[in-house]
Symmetry: C2
């Protein structure tokens, strides 16, 4: 079975669109996301315009705050503080990476976790790890939605996560090992969690043997072809978070995108597998949209992220 | 080999004592811990007086702030805010549990992570998970010190953590899977980390089989005798974090303390094992003392926890 992230993301967007339309029919303002962009990194500009497009499609308003490369750390922190207190903005994100002279961790630490719709601040992660209400990291939340859509259970299952990054590996591991919980108002209860989770990485011995014991493998290592057929037990679920450019002169752009899984040989063995592209990628943007709408919806219901 | 936490804690306390004496010979004030205690829970009162005694032994000054059971949440939050800004207090802890009418998570969230010497606030955990400077949780930090003392390596090793609590299981797993890092000024570099970590819990299938693949087992499940001889591979390290009261009419108190490991049968197989009592327990208090001194020492050196 192919886990079709493109299709699932499309359905999720439709649901969000219906929800926002119904809010507007009630005379309410639209949810609003602010995006902070520093400098002119072409990849960042593309990501931001994709996010803006996705927002507009479902009816989320977007404020793009663009700054030149030479903004100081203090000036940027002032922008963050203003967004924290601006009640017309439901959530905001700072597009990474930032220029060298600005410390990413200082900026992320200052974002109010109640507006942290990327779910990447230390406070959001700390609250998640403690099982407190927090906005989930976008990529792990997207993977959760994908697994839920296809009714793939995690309770008692052995999940092997390959990669220990701050944006995928570690928050994904935490999310899957927790007790299942009720998520924010207006979103359905999550059925995932209660998994036995192993986190592997570049220093892991016996990666192949460990993977062969997995019911679910989630790989975010940035290493093309890392997960091979001999590492996957028949029927296992394989989620590929890798996005790698491989030179390919036969394509118009001279390259193609591949994941961290040897898809051709693993797909026939796996019980379920997400392709690259069209798997996890589209789910990540939809998680961001969902996070904005959940914060907005929570406000309507008087239930805020910071309250237990 | 028995991992003698009592002896290692004693040595660590001696080192702290020497360090604090040298500060005082330089004419500096003593490090200062504040302890907030609400109500008259007998166990809490015992813990607090043990902590105070341990502080005094090494030369840490202690302010005990005791409040009656009926203090309101807001009044307690005001106390926290005052301690956050009181520059004469290096770090402080709130003894848990709190009375039912006070939300623990609200109180912990308000503690400034730079003074959070229990390392239990969401911000401390979130920063730890992201590899940023933070005060480590006391029990995992104590286990780290114990492993380091006996030169037990973790890089590339398979560590199985049993239990997913906020104070042991989850922070321990995070600490061991991270890249090794330089800890705060005046403390030595940690050699631990880079482990392949599996977190097991009450919902785990095949716990026995998973444990048999472990180089190191760390159990904090609150379940006497959970780890049996057939779950431990010869030569493995076993760390027992459990503290359980077992009825025993032959003792003066009518009970004795046991851990989560069937010590009698596991000890002959294990390469190294920590006993209960006298293993992890004494290390936890010494971690608290160490955290206070590290925050104090960091201030002297102009390096604060919040700066990268």
């Amino acid at each position: 079975m192919i886990l079709d992230g493109k299709m699932v993301a499309q359905e999720e967007r439709k649901k969000l669109c219906t929800l926002i339309t119904s809010y507007q029919e009630m005379g309410l303002r639209a949810p609003k996301l602010a995006i902070v962009l520093v400098g002119h990194n072409p990849a960042s500009e593309t990501y931001v315009s994709n996010k803006m497009k996705a927002c507009h499609e479902v009816g989320i308003e977007v404020d793009k705050l663009a700054f030149e490369e030479d903004i100081t750390e203090q000036e940027l922190l002032n922008v963050i503080h203003q967004l924290n207190t601006d009640s017309s903005v439901d959530g905001f994100i700072v597009q990474l990476p930032l220029p060298e002279h600005i410390r990413e961790s200082m900026v992320l630490t200052e974002i109010d976790y109640r507006k942290d719709v990327d779910g990447l601040t230390p406070m959001s992660m700390g609250r998640s790890i403690q099982g407190l209400r927090a906005i989930p990291s976008a990529t792990p939340a997207g993977i959760r939605t994908l697994l839920e859509y296809y009714h793939i259970q995690t309770a008692g299952k052995h999940v092997v996560v390959i990669g220990r990054s701050n944006i995928v590996g570690k928050p994904m591991a935490i999310m899957l090992m927790q007790r299942p919980y009720l998520s924010l108002p207006s979103m359905s209860a999550s059925t995932l969690g209660d998994a036995t989770v192993t986190v592997c990485h570049s220093k892991t011995d016996h990666l192949e043997a460990i993977c062969r014991t997995a019911d679910i493998i989630i790989v975010a290592a940035g290493c093309p072809g890392l997960v091979k057929a001999n590492m996957v037990q028949p029927g296992a679920t394989v989620i590929d978070v890798g996005i790698n450019r491989i030179e390919d002169p036969s394509t118009p752009r001279g390259y193609r995108l591949v994941g961290d899984v040897d898809f051709e040989h693993v797909a026939p063995i796996a019980g379920a597998i997400s392709p690259v592209p069209g798997g996890v990628g589209p789910m990540t943007i939809v998680s961001l949209l969902k996070n904005v709408v959940v914060v907005y919806g929570g406000k309507l219901l008087g239930a805020k992220v910071g309250e237990e």
